[in-house]
Symmetry: D2
Subunit: 335 residues, 4 copies
């Protein structure tokens, strides 16, 4: 069985990480091509990892030498590039967001559905994190009864000053949206985003932290704190409350020290540290599934649904009121 030949579109931080990952840590795959608007960046990486540099991402996608694509380009070019993947029948692991809005995401879903074959997997990597996976397994086992509530926390040490209130919903809360949909196995039907008096350590007008309430079709609820200027470190925590117990992940791990008057440990600096293993597993399993002609993770629909929830979330952020999530009828779209 020969190796899957992978091309990476967009080699900024995430794309370069993925390219390295394919080369250094993934069985059964080979990096053959990279593409990036920043030619020097692409060339440097291509030289280091022994991959061809292709100027035009659409050419990379179309190339006969490329079996499958990792899309780590900016979100606003995803739609075009995903359509190209679908046209050429190329399996693609697409970093979130699927596209820039729910309407175009739905078009992607529909176009893929017409092909009659799932080619698109969305990069919600948390589903591959061993802790999240173990929690999902525990909840699905029914050992704790039905799951009633989630309490989620998503904190970044800090973000660039260009990171505005809307991005907190679109780029950070979106992960919590996927986690809630996935853990409950149900769609979010309503979202409320509220904001307390913001931290003073942020530019004027940025609403940080935010507190969201998700209401799901199955009657469950999730509350979510997103706080992207927490100062301390990166923290993603999730507590599921079920009828006969609760389960929590994301508590401190690693070396436990007693030093400087304190007991405890270090917070991870950022998501790349916290979720490195999740990314490794995601890419390995995506490669394995691709070889089998399948996907093994969040689908285009999941990307679309997350986008629709975030759009409603943005409306709620500005109104302070609950907003219904309008989702296409899944059974019709995928029927």
């Amino acid at each position: 069985m020969s190796d899957l030949r992978v091309g990476v579109v967009g080699v900024g931080v995430m794309g370069a990480d993925h390219a390295e990952r394919v080369v250094r840590k993934t069985a059964g795959a080979r990096l053959v091509a990279v593409s990036d608007p920043d030619w020097a960046r692409a060339e440097g990486l291509g030289a280091r990892l022994d991959a061809r540099v292709v100027a035009d991402p659409l050419e990379l996608i179309a190339s006969n030498e490329v079996d499958a694509v990792i899309l780590a380009s900016p979100g606003f070019v995803h739609a075009e590039q995903l359509f190209a993947c679908l046209e050429h029948g190329k399996p693609v692991l697409c970093e979130k967001p699927l596209t820039m809005d729910a309407a175009s995401a739905l078009q992607v879903v529909e176009r893929e559905h017409k092909l009659g074959r799932q080619l698109i997997q969305v990069g919600f990597m948390r589903r591959f994190d061993p802790e999240y996976a173990a929690m999902k397994q525990l909840l699905d086992s029914g050992e704790l009864g039905r799951t009633l509530l989630l309490h989620n926390v998503h904190r970044n040490k800090s973000v660039p000053t260009t990171f505005r209130s809307e991005m907190i919903v679109r780029d950070s809360m979106v992960h919590e949206v996927d986690v809630a949909r996935w853990l409950f196995g149900s769609e979010i039907t309503r979202i409320t985003v509220r904001t307390p008096q913001p931290t003073s350590l942020v530019a004027d007008g940025v609403l940080d932290p935010q507190l969201a309430l998700f209401e799901l079709a199955n009657g469950a609820m999730a509350d979510v704190e997103v706080f992207v200027n927490f100062q301390v470190g990166y923290e993603v925590r999730c507590e599921a409350v079920a009828e006969r117990g609760s389960a929590t992940i994301g508590l401190g791990a690693g070396v436990f020290t007693r030093a400087g008057g304190q007991w405890g440990g270090a917070m991870p600096a950022d998501f790349r540290v916290r979720f490195e293993q999740a990314y490794d597993i995601e890419v390995q399993r995506w490669v394995d599934a691709t070889v089998r002609g399948e996907i093994d993770g969040p689908s285009a629909w999941d990307g679309y649904a997350a986008a629709a929830v975030c759009e409603a979330g943005l409306e709620s952020l500005s109104s302070g009121r609950p907003v219904e999530v309008t989702l296409a009828d899944r059974s019709k779209v995928l029927g």
Copy 2:
């Protein structure tokens, strides 16, 4: 300096505990009288603890032999008994609720204010728990910056089947109301109580768990889960999120075991186990303050404000919508 002579009105579980506490663990106090509608119960306790049994609680309150009163009678007789304490100038530690509704609680506040001397302390014992006290101190120190959010969890193993949805607000959530007001040093101005699909391990029609959002005058917010049929044990957890860090109390404590395939420890069975030390400290400090002619803990106003928030909470529980808390003007009432 002779001992403070304490009378206890109502010697059910809490009152009997307090009577024992005065006798067995409290310096500078002596139990002199107990009163309870259940004469046999009062007599048993009085015999065991060497205290006089008084049939009429108002007679106990009025008695020259009693310097101060602990009120652990049912809430619906509090108003009358508190008025008696005020009339006779007797300091009183009153178990929550202060009275049955905000209107009568306000009358108590006003009556005490006219006396020109604080005689009433309300039994929100959590303020005396060493963990809560340490958290309060940490937050007030400013070390973590301004406090922005609280995430609170209040869980009971189970409650009697007579415990209905409204009691979850009145009897359980009320503690969270006091904690939020106290930690933030600010009034709650709006409350939203929402309920997911209830646990199946509860009688039909009981809305358990409940998820509340408190909005405070200072712009802060608190979300609170109250789940009184959690099955596992008693758990009270509080996380404060501030500008430069967070602080959590109520995580597992005690003996850490590795046994039966698990690492961890035992959940406390109920609030009497979890807050035993808090009660001990509360009563000792109340005795000490009473001797000095002061109170040293939550005031009648705190009892009134908690009642007002819970009334709004009940309205929200039935409507599902945010409800403004209507509070008398403190500066006028106590001005």
Copy 3:
């Protein structure tokens, strides 16, 4: 029932704490007299706590106004003061050490035995710490099977430079000696004290940390690290390993913070913080037992046995070899 009238001999840090404790936190007891070679210190405390100051400790012990004595004087005067307590039939809570050596301690044991009544309780306060007590209860329940091993750690932030290697055994390790004897319910028959290359943060010639192995009559063993210049804070940890599981106490407690890049909590500064509750319980239970004419804690024999183990430990410290503990025949001494 009138209060137990307590006199405190020696009002340095521990004695003053105990005097305060009797006055401020203990039911059923009254502080009537204090004595200290430092007259000003005694007078200051006596004035503050409204107790008579007696110059001669033996006069305090003999006084008709004193029902029971707390001995917090230096160890080298304990023998004489304990004999006085025995002579006058005064119950006494004696801070460790019982006396300065095993031989004199045995004399105390024998003298008390002749009286036919236990008057002496030794101040090994750890037995009253709620965590230790819960561990003892768990081990005695048999739930984990027979206990095989203890792993103990005793660390101080730092000690005065006058604290020499021998004092690490006598004053610090002695607590571990009592803990091992108590938890196993068996005598220590052999002790080995070994020392690695010492920390550089200590005066030349001081052997710190030390590593001891206790072997017990019932076949169990305990290893103990004592490190009195740990720099970080005060830490006392104990892990019991039994046939079907292990139990650990002394892990971090209190407020859990995420701040400054770290998750965790603060180490207690010293033993007075860590064991404050243990001391409170010890004194309350000693008062209660004294009123009943009993002791309720470690006996003179326990003080003697600890002294004998420490003497062997000192011999092992200098030789590096296992040393047998020579203990009088308990059944003969107390027969």
Copy 4:
């Protein structure tokens, strides 16, 4: 760059795991051949993983199609197979033990040294565990000052009844030997193995648990509990005590639950669960280093030194006394 062609000798549990690992999780390597005395077992695995089955392990080692070898055969054939690897210049990842005794292990070291090239890496996988690696990095950083002591615990849920006292030293404690040598960067010069009264849940005559003391050339010490019939689960814990603090790894991780009256989490069932990630990293890094013509982990000398310490440990186990470790002069052997 073409893939490294790997042959696996011995496809019992560990060897089969490694073969799977090469195929499913390792970049830059290909499984080409397997060998096992149990032909059916080898054939099954070879068919499943698409690898050639070779009856004679020495033929596999000699084969031109094999670039590098993973040795997971029983220890008693290691010497012969390692010599074959050296003869044919084949890099080899050899599961512990290197050989069955220190003398033959030293011969392996000497033979490799004559080649002038390191071909042998020993499978002490803990060095690749992220927690151990982080601890090593912390200790080497000097942040906590010099490391003085290790407290190690190694527990298995249970072992087959054929697992005798000597195997506890050879097969379990040997990992602690490597950990101590590696973390301190110093040789163990003396070992004492002591045993308390054994657990009753083990066959007569088996000395379990065992308590060892390692003394190192640099003046440090390590105490080690090995308990292979702990009943609860697999637990490997390591606490390093340094001049300015301590660091611990191996505390509970994973999903934190509150259920069944308890808070906590599950113990891993066995070492394959606990150290899966360590094995993955070990094999990937071994492959990467092999391609570069290097080793990247414990060397033949480390295997030899561990064997020599265990031999002394066995002597101490039977005598109960400290035994000096006799090690060849490293500078002469490798000079």
